[in-house]
Symmetry: C2
Amino acid sequence: MNYPNGKKSSSQSKLTSNKKKTSFSNRGMTLEDDINDTNDYYRITNQAVIHKKPTPVQIVKVDYPKRSAAVIKEGYFKQASTTDYNGIYRSHYIDFEAKETKSKTSFPLSNIHDHQIDHMKTIVEHGGICFLLIRFAVYDQTFFLPAVKLFNYWNRQFNGGKKSIPYQEIKEAGTEIPIGFPARIDYLKIIDQLYF
Amino acid sequence: MNYPNGKKSSSQSKLTSNKKKTSFSNRGMTLEDDINDTNDYYRITNQAVIHKKPTPVQIVKVDYPKRSAAVIKEGYFKQASTTDYNGIYRSHYIDFEAKETKSKTSFPLSNIHDHQIDHMKTIVEHGGICFLLIRFAVYDQTFFLPAVKLFNYWNRQFNGGKKSIPYQEIKEAGTEIPIGFPARIDYLKIIDQLYF
């Protein structure tokens, strides 16, 4: 989340230690920036219509000044009850969450909430294409992990297993999405490979 | 929109003149309340997963008090670039907007924005099920109008036609959704009739 006041939520803060020299390097862009750009590109080229949902805000106090727009004077961030992105591609319902971690070794499952998992499960049941995009910021690597695989890791933690998914497992179970151009994170290509 | 401070946006203010005596009368509920209840019911009964998107807010100033949650101190309502509701039903992508009017004679097209129409057109192109729910509050009547029919009325206004859709035309072109229970606005039933 990139707040207009310049503050960033910690999970998406830019990395200064990233020294990779690929031609399409990230140049400090967050995963969210990359996905938003990619979704814009998909819409412009009429490939898919996928949007990020607005940040849910609990509005407590609003001022209505004369002759100008209503001003929210008190509000709080609410926890999302669904995933952040959804839309349509090749007539299919698409639904996903995107998370960035600074860890070098694993993706902490605490980044995902119970009700997001519940939501993703019902989406899969209803025939939607549902997945998680995970970025390991230190490696500048982004992985596509189908929701059904995520559920296995999620459930494992309640059976005495790890509370995170090791990097190595994500590398094996997921599909890496190279940083590209013009679609920076061309996840539709992975959907084509995995679901069609 | 029902702000927590008790203020309501004008389009959704409750009607006090509604004296209809049907057993499932609206009892002052807004169309948005009815749809949210209906969507909850659809989710609980595992029929569909359809959510209202959060109200888009431009956040300008956030305070981070010690030991308590971040407080939004300045924010503004943004115009939505898409429709308010989307989700999945019978493996299909569902996308719709809902509007209430106090008019007795017609639905003003100014209730819908250009970019919402553009969005709805691309959804239809991509194979989604897209529609508008219109409530005539004075009659306590809610109509399901497929997006393709809405486009005709929308285009007509630029060819010297009306800037609104007469009530009578909506009655003929749309499908009335009776107020029911437990699904107050059982629009999936109309989708079943029209699209499957």
